[in-house]
């Protein structure tokens, strides 16, 4: 595969993947990549999820990547399923079984395949086959769908389930599991179940009759997915907001965060209505723009609600002014940034970690925010809750830095766990508590953690009210332009950020099996491909490194120590400018020179080969230097 992976032929030629991969003629079990090329808007996603689920139900781990265009109908789309019983299911560049259903991309698709790739080719596209080094099964899909689906209108949808049946036979996926997956997929549309089952059966039947057994790749039943869930990160984030006690959620539609808001709307309607009155214990508002969405979040936070928005890069640009207001007036707020490729419109349907630096300092003036960085659906769930709590505790804006890869793809994940702590309401003084103190100063550091106390509007006490303003203020919230008030406030806010450093989710460390002076750091969706790369480097190259996964900014003491304890540390990021490296270097200059960067920013989810390739090159240049 080349084109849809965005790799030039030159890059392809230098791939170390081939070197590391096993010989092609040895049968491989539960280690393969399936890629289905269709055009978007044809309903292929249901078929692809059925295919994915049937493998999962056989107990074999998978990862899926849906590569789709910024378009509603008719452009090429690729759905990739990586099957790997070690659990290495991040993106992989090469494909073992390719399903070619799309006229528009078929010439380039076929030209880019590795020799020996299995191809399920729609007979109508047979003219596109211009090479003889592929193992091609030409399937008369049009004829088969005509037999199972008398309704011409539905054929375009149903044809997809036929390739599921074909692929099942080619790879050894049990047909009972395909049928069970169809039942699950169409649980809400019982009428579609039988039709789709017969389509899958027809594909399987044809394959049994026409395709000779192959011994290149196979899927065999295992017991490795028990208890796991298969869910999109955005859905898990939404569930986290619900369990985090969200009260006001304001949003403006933007790919790739819209599905988070839509999932939240569904979940809240089911679980967060008052069981007695049926009324809503929350407000979800589709705003007129991101400025308004963030304005509503800040207004709601001021009035005492747990409030959040979800957006992507262009959205945070628009929210920047209000982000500074939240920071400076110390109003709790949460932004879930499902990052996509920027700048500008960029690649709206491609993934990136390109908002890290912008989010960390979002707004004008001296501004630093707390960033939580989930790497999988379970953490997307947990960090939504944590963000809502931390925003209250710290009285500030907290970001959850998700990305398109996590948000919009289905991930195999450990199951969600119920929260163990009650909701954190932060330092809010009630009228009764105000009675017991002699003075309330909104912005005074009473406890030494730089977090002040606040009161909520409507508190019936003469000492409760204060005037919230983005303009300079003293510790009693009175307007002030005095140098000492301004500087004092900014210094306290900086100290509050240090408090945040002790409260954010801790980094996770995985030590190498052998002692090493080299460390590797990754965050978010770079975690899985980076760990895969390290595992492969250890086995194939006898190269070992300790690994740390960064889960939040500001970086914890443990993170800084990890860098201090290694001669050099490779920081893996999905952006061009080494954004988190820049933050770490600026805040911890003494470790600046130890950090090296591994960068990936072509819009594709990161793959282990990229990490390996860059690591080996950088390590070589280390060795050349004295």
């Amino acid at each position: 595969m080349d084109d849809h992976l965005g790799l030039s032929s030159q890059q392809q030629a230098t791939l170390p993947v081939g070197a590391i991969a096993e010989e092609r003629n040895v049968p491989r079990v539960n280690d393969l990549v399936i890629c289905v090329a269709t055009s978007n808007g044809t309903g292929s996603i249901s078929a692809n999820l059925v295919l994915a689920r049937s493998i999962l139900q056989m107990g074999v781990p998978i990862g899926t990547k849906n590569l789709f265009p910024s378009n509603i109908q008719g452009l090429p789309t690729w759905f990739t399923i990586r099957v790997n019983e070690q659990g290495w299911v991040a993106n992989r560049r090469d494909v073992d079984l390719f399903v070619a259903m799309n006229r528009e991309s078929v010439f380039e698709d076929l030209a880019g395949l590795r020799p020996g790739t299995l191809v399920v080719l729609n007979a109508e596209l047979a003219d596109a086959l211009q090479r003889d080094d592929l193992i091609v099964y030409t399937v008369p899909f049009t004829q088969l769908v005509g037999d199972v689906c008398p309704e011409p209108k539905l054929r375009r949808l149903v044809v997809n389930m036929i390739y599921v049946g074909v692929v099942a036979v080619v790879l050894g996926i049990e047909l009972e599991e395909v049928e069970a997956a169809i039942e699950k997929q169409f649980a809400q549309k019982p009428k579609a179940i039988e039709l789709n089952k017969s389509a899958a059966r027809a594909g399987a039947q044809w394959a049994r009759e026409h395709i000779p057994p192959q011994d290149f790749v196979r899927i065999e039943r295992r017991n490795l997915t028990t208890n796991k869930i298969f869910v999109e990160g955005n859905t898990a984030s939404a569930a986290g907001l619900m369990f985090g006690g969200i009260q006001v959620f304001a949003w403006y539609p933007i790919t790739p965060s819209s599905s988070l808001a839509e999932a939240l709307t569904d979940l809240m309607a089911t679980w967060r209505r008052d069981p007695v009155t049926g009324k809503a214990t929350y407000a979800i508002i589709q705003a007129e723009d991101e400025l308004a969405a963030m304005g509503m979040v800040v207004g709601a936070g001021w009035a005492g609600a747990r409030a959040a928005t979800a957006t992507s890069g262009p959205g945070i640009s628009l929210m920047a002014e209000l982000a500074g207001l939240s920071y400076f007036t110390e109003i709790p707020a949460v932004i879930i940034d499902v990052q996509r490729v920027g700048p500008s419109t960029g690649l709206p349907t491609r993934t990136s970690q390109g908002d890290m630096l912008k989010a960390y300092h979002l707004s004008h003036g001296d501004c630093k925010h707390v960033l939580l960085i989930p790497a999988n659906p379970k953490e997307a769930f947990e960090f939504s809750m944590t963000a809502l709590d931390l925003a209250q505790r710290l009285q500030t804006l907290v970001f959850v830095m998700s990305d398109l890869d996590l948000g919009m793809n289905y991930w195999l994940s450990d199951p969600l766990e119920p929260p163990t702590q009650p909701l954190d309401r932060g330092k809010v003084l009630t009228a009764e508590e105000l009675d017991q103190i002699t003075e309330f100063a909104r912005y005074r550091d009473v406890d030494g953690d730089a977090i002040p106390y606040r009161t909520l509007p409507g508190t019936r006490h003469p000492r409760a009210p204060f005037f919230t303003q983005g303009a300079g203020h003293d510790d009693r919230a009175k307007r002030s332009e005095k140098p000492e008030d301004w500087a004092g406030n900014l210094e306290r806010l900086a100290r509050k950020h240090e408090t945040a450093r002790t409260l954010v989710p801790e980094s996770l460390v995985e030590l190498a099996t052998k002692p090493t002076r080299v460390g590797v750091i990754a965050y978010g969706t770079s975690d899985l491909p980076t760990r895969e790369a390290l595992a492969r480097l250890a086995t194939a190259h006898e190269w070992h490194a300790d690994y740390l996964r960064l889960r939040a900014l500001p970086a914890t003491a443990k993170t800084v120590e990890f860098i201090e304890q290694h001669d050099r540390v490779y920081l893996v990021e999905q952006n061009r400018d080494a954004q988190v490296a820049a933050i770490l270097r600026a805040e911890h200059p003494h470790i600046a020179s130890r950090i090296r960067s591994i960068l990936h920013f072509n819009g594709q989810p990161l793959d282990a080969a990229t990490v390996i390739e860059q690591l080996l090159t950088l390590e070589e240049s280390e060795e050349e230097q004295p």
Binding site: F243, I246, G470
Partner: protein, 350 residues
């Protein structure tokens, strides 16, 4: 032993919930002496007092600009929020859904409402968020020292002679277009009319927009300005004489039958409009828009209650079907589903 009676003292007037008018005052204004905004603040203080509003239960919202500073100058027992330029409407919307029991009063200027925040203003109106939304309209950016605002009339000039050739934005007409159900225009110097309109707005359930021409004494009070004191006084054309009658008071008898129109507000109180000359019916949306268009053409400055919907629509909190208790006051058990729901979701996603 003393048998002396304490000397009789004149107790200051209190409203029905026992507060003096002073309680509704705020910090001392730092605006220019004679600023129309201060006069509006004074009427707001009076209206809140006379409407027996809980002095702790007001949410004072504003954006950025001279007008926005005034939220510090009234209701000092309540919280105020001087946010970001143009975003008072959005911030107030969020605050309202978080605590719908607070009386939200937003004070904005023509820069906030008609320019940078026009979109947010219109969408707040569309949603019918219950807010008393006062526009202190002087046609000029005072705080940045005298640039035209979007409400500056065509042909008006700045101090330095620069002429505005653009059509003004009419916030009242736009509000009516967006479905606002209480739209009024007044003049900061018309104390009696303004207080009645403010009281009507406080009693209204839904977005109430009051556009108050408030001459800027420093940057927009010269001959070439159509929002100067002199111009306003000479061109003001009141629609009615307005009286506000709380629901528990009798209608005063001094209104002649046949010249009086009553408007019943959601809480049962009434706005009594005494017609002056014309037979304007403020319950017709079409008539209201025609009236504003005529006034624009004739360069007349119409004041009074321009539009009030005969049948109020559901306010934003009703549209959202919010629980009775303000969201911000809900205890944990309403905010977090049972732990078993986590397992149900896991099952769903297996």
């Amino acid at each position: 032993m003393s048998t002396q009676q304490p000397a009789p003292t004149r107790s200051p007037a209190t409203n029905r919930i026992g507060y003096e008018q002073n309680v509704y005052k705020g910090a001392t204004s730092t605006l220019c002496a004679g600023c129309g905004h201060d006069s509006i603040t004074a009427q707001l203080v009076r209206a809140l007092w006379e409407c027996n509003v809980d002095p702790y239960g007001i949410a004072k919202m504003s954006g950025i600009g001279c007008s926005s500073k005034t939220t510090a100058y009234f209701a000092s027992l309540s919280h105020g929020f001087n946010g970001v330029h143009g975003r008072a409407a959005a911030i107030a919307t969020g605050s309202f859904v978080a605590n719908r029991k607070l009386l939200h009063v937003a004070v904005s200027g023509d820069g906030d409402t008609a320019s940078i925040g026009l979109g947010n203003f219109l969408h707040m109106v569309r949603r019918n968020v219950p807010i008393v939304y006062v526009i202190e309209n002087n046609g000029v950016y005072g705080l940045t020292k005298g640039q035209f605002s979007a409400t500056a009339d065509k042909g008006s000039t700045l101090k330095d002679g620069l002429r505005n050739d653009l059509e003004p934005v009419d916030c009242c007409a736009l509000a009516i277009e967006m479905g606002c159900e209480y739209v009024a225009r007044s003049f900061s110097g018309d104390v009696k009319q303004l207080v009645a309109l403010l009281k009507g707005a406080i009693a209204h359930r839904g977005t109430a927009v009051i556009d108050v021409v408030s001459p800027c004494v420093t940057f927009n009070n010269h001959e070439g300005s159509t929002k100067s004191l002199k111009f306003a006084r000479e061109h003001e054309e009141p629609l009615h004489e307005i009286g506000f009658v709380p629901y528990y008071e009798e209608i005063r008898v001094d209104y002649e039958p046949g010249t009086v129109q009553e408007i019943i507000l959601h809480d049962g109180s009434r706005l009594v409009l005494k017609k002056l000359g014309n037979d304007y019916d403020p319950t017709s949306r079409e008539a209201a828009l025609v009236l504003l268009e005529q006034a624009r053409r004739e360069k007349h400055f119409i004041t009074g209650l321009i539009y009030r919907a005969p049948e109020p629509s559901p306010a934003f909190d009703e549209q959202l079907e919010l629980v009775e208790t303000p969201l911000a006051h809900l205890p944990d058990e309403f905010l977090r589903p049972n732990p078993e729901v986590v397992e149900q979701l896991n099952q769903l996603w297996r």
